[in-house]
Amino acid sequence: MIRNYFKIGWRNLKRNQSYAFINIFGLSLGIACSIVIFCFVSFQLSFDTFHQNKDRIFRIVTEWHDDEAGYSQAVPSPLGKAFRTEYPLAEQTARVINYNDALVTIKRNDNDYQKFKEETGFTYAEPGYFNIFDYPLIKGNKTNFLSEPNSAAITEKLAHKYFGDADPMGKTIRINNKTDFIIKGVLKDIPENTERQEQIYVSYQNLKDQAPWLANDSSWGGVYSGSQCYLLLKNKADAPKVNQALTQLVKKNFKGRDQNVWVFRTQELADIHFNTLFDGSSDKKYLWAISLIGLFLVVTACVNFINLATAQALNRSKEVGIRKVLGSLPKQLFWQFIAETALITLFAVVLAIGLAYLLMPYVNSLFKTQIKLHLFTNLPLLSFLILIGVLVTFLSGSYPGLVLARFQPVLALKSKLSQKHIGGFSLRRVLVVTQFAISQLLIIGTIVIASQMHYAHNTDLGFNKQAIITLPIPQKDKTKKTTLQSRLSTIAGISNISLCYQAPAANSNNSTNIRYDNRAEDEHWGINMKAADANFLTTFGIKLVAGRNYFASDTTREVLVNETFVKKLNLKSPEEVIGKKIFTNGDKKGVPITGVVKDFYTYSFHNEIPAICIFPDNDNYTKCAVKIEAGNMQATMKSIEKIWNETYPDFLYEYQFLDESIAKFYELDMTILELIQGFAAIAILIGSLGLYGLVSFMAVRKTKEIGVRKVLGAGIGNILWLFGKEFTRLLLIAFLIAAPVAWWAMSHYLEDYKTRISLQPWIFLLAIACTFLIAALSVGYRSLRAAMANPVKSLRTE
């Protein structure tokens, strides 16, 4: 019986190839997206779940409860030690301090050094770290490999990169041209689904070589973002006790107002990946949105199926009639159609798996992940596929099945079935409206995000970002900085050079407390400190609104502030602050303000412009910004590289275009944009297939009406309007549903931007115009064919 069902299903597919194609292709697109989304979401949810003690692992984070709340994933470096010695609440406490961008040097021969740049940097870790987390060692002893100074552990991958097939144990690596480390352990490669991607761990006892201030047990006053502290609690329920202990530590180590501002608290391991207040790289909000879109796409594809299958029902009515005459029960007919749907779904799932394999690399490059599709070893994925197969089969097969099984055999045999027996044209309308609404929602989303991105890339940031490259200054050596600057200035193609801590907008910013003039206490907001030489303003085209630039100097004698600074002090005009002193970071002497600059952005549009202080301080310069003149770029770049390499022969040369690094601030937004574009395209494609199916159905249904109308003298235009009228109405209803939802969702999205576009009517008009165009294209051909059909023919068949 089942075999018979599948056989006839197969023959039906072969007979109605276009119908089969629309169904299978549409379904497989929807399913492929859901597979990819499933893999992506389950990958995100798997972050740091492989640690054996994952429920007992916590991180200590910092919050500042002042006028503006502040959050950091990092803690003052002495905190971990103080907690460990004073409170026996944790089984393990480990401090880790990470530095990005490590330069690793390996000595090959006497004067032959090989240099490697490691973006994930290197980490000073206390030995307990590897008892908290499950990053297994394949060589070396877990309990003692980091307990001696100058010992290091690297991953298998790096070991192979540095030493090939030779045994890395006991070999020496030099980090940042400062400290030599001996490899005492080799780590198994770090899995993709963990927040801690460091590949090089070194003994915590060497921290004093790199950062004496951090290594000091009394450095409570500041937080370096790479300084973290992890706990393995004896009992998960101890977290509140730990928080109490941390409050006591604040009381003990901070004075005055700071006692109320500083808060340390525990953060569960499971929260780390998703909490964007701290350094979470994923956002559950977006995961939900993506899952919802995946569901939408599957539903859209099912909607098509139902639409097309019920539209086909008339053609199948004779067969249904005969089968009933031959003794089939309605139940059996129902199952026959379910079997047919199952067959189509099976094809679709197989095709979808193929499509998912094709899509996955694209998704991986978009999210910079390495998610792999292992169909048969991935049990959740396999069960997901089976679940979705069954779900789709019943979702899309049961309605047509029920309709067909209900047919009266006598009527079916005489082809006397009409629309009212198939019924549910209104249901089909509802379904098409749903599809339209989903497409429009995604189209509006695309337009809004795209225009916000366009706005971000083209709005005046308050400084010039074109044709500026930044070079690193790897050493504090003052003479070398001067040499680099003076030698670069001899290159013809360079118009300006500025030594500075960072470009005006950068993802590395320093904030500190500030006291103004003779006010009694510090302001309740922080000030962004930008060290830069006197060329900073001209190089980046930053405008002065009051006063003058400071004179060239290696130390801080004068400073500049921005307009926001003046506003935050509640002063009326920028002129008022000229000549007044400010005291930053607990400084007692104070420095006078010589000028006020026009506001410029220090990070992306997601952030507000903070109060800024620009000051000269040679020790703080880590970047050299070079403004290049148009023309002969290549030669200029070459000369720059040559000079830099001669100045810093021990380091690796690299440069960045400022506009490119600024574009990187919007990486996540661009990812979302690309994603939503892709989804919109797929939703539209599936929707168009469905529309085509529906209009085919209408064309068949209206054959007689069209014939009669033509005989009565209707032109092609009149006939086309028969179809157009219907779809225009559905489209408008869909728009009425989609527009408010889209407005709500997109205003929420835009709230993440402190500087943003407003939701203008044209966005919605453009979306509806797009849908109109798409709808016209997908229904056009079929309705034109119906309109051009010879009425004599269509009337005779009635």
Binding site: I8, E319, G321, R323, V410
Partner: protein, 221 residues
């Protein structure tokens, strides 16, 4: 075998009641070969469909093999139908997507007969109607006469005791028609299958032992 009592069938059109069948009282014994005749619209097919349980009257009682068809449960009626009634149509009504073999096999599938048994029965049928060579062809590849042969084979494959035929020769030429009628007579005489056929042709009607004339939904006495 069949007893119809006061069967009425009507449609409501606006305020008017249009009668298709009026006060039909009819008894047919097992083994009879009955022809129903009458002009177009006299209700022949409706009567046949009611006998064949494809249609229901608006009023009246129908006993089939001593069972009140409208009192028994749906499932019982379906079984009664499947095991005892075969249908032959003017337009053959073969399933286009199935081969000759599969068309004949279908009624057996609905009676849950085992594969091996099914194969034997269908093979026997093919043999009996001389269409073994055509078993893998699809309906469109056959002539009208051949299609009707398949239709009859399919109607008989489940060994029904009642064969209902709605103008079985209507789409055939006279020679093919005669062949079909001969087959009917043979089935009736040799296997004892009760046959009720609707026909326009006096000649075909004469194959039956009894002729019922219908006019405007009434049996003419």
């Amino acid at each position: 075998m069949i007893r119809l009592e006061k069967i009425y069938k009507w449609h409501n059109t606006g305020n008017n009641r249009v009668f298709i069948l009026k006060d039909i009282n009819l008894t047919i014994q097992e083994g009879e070969f009955v022809s129903i005749m009458g002009p177009s619209g006299s209700g022949k097919t409706t009567l046949l469909n009611i006998i064949g349980m494809l249609d229901e009257p608006s009023e009246g009682r129908y006993d089939f093999m001593e069972q009140d068809v409208y009192r028994i449960r749906e499932k019982q009626r379906s079984d009664l139908y499947k095991q005892n009634i075969g249908f032959v149509f003017q337009a053959y009504h073969l399933i286009d997507e199935l081969t000759v073999y599969e068309n004949i096999e279908t009624p057996l599938l609905y009676q849950n007969i085992k594969t091996s048994e099914r194969q034997a029965i269908v093979a026997d049928m093919l043999d009996r109607f001389n269409i073994v060579g055509k078993k893998d062809l699809f309906p469109v590849q056959l002539s009208g006469g051949q299609q009707q042969l398949v239709g009859i084979a399919r109607a008989l494959v489940a060994k029904p005791r009642l064969l209902l035929a709605d103008e079985p020769t209507g789409n055939l030429n006279s020679k093919q028609g005669e062949e079909i009628m001969e087959i009917f007579r043979k089935i009736n005489r040799e296997d004892g299958v009760t046959i009720i056929q609707v026909t326009h042709s006096e000649k075909n009607a004469a194959y039956g032992q009894r002729i019922i004339h219908l006019l405007d939904g009434r049996i003419e006495k």
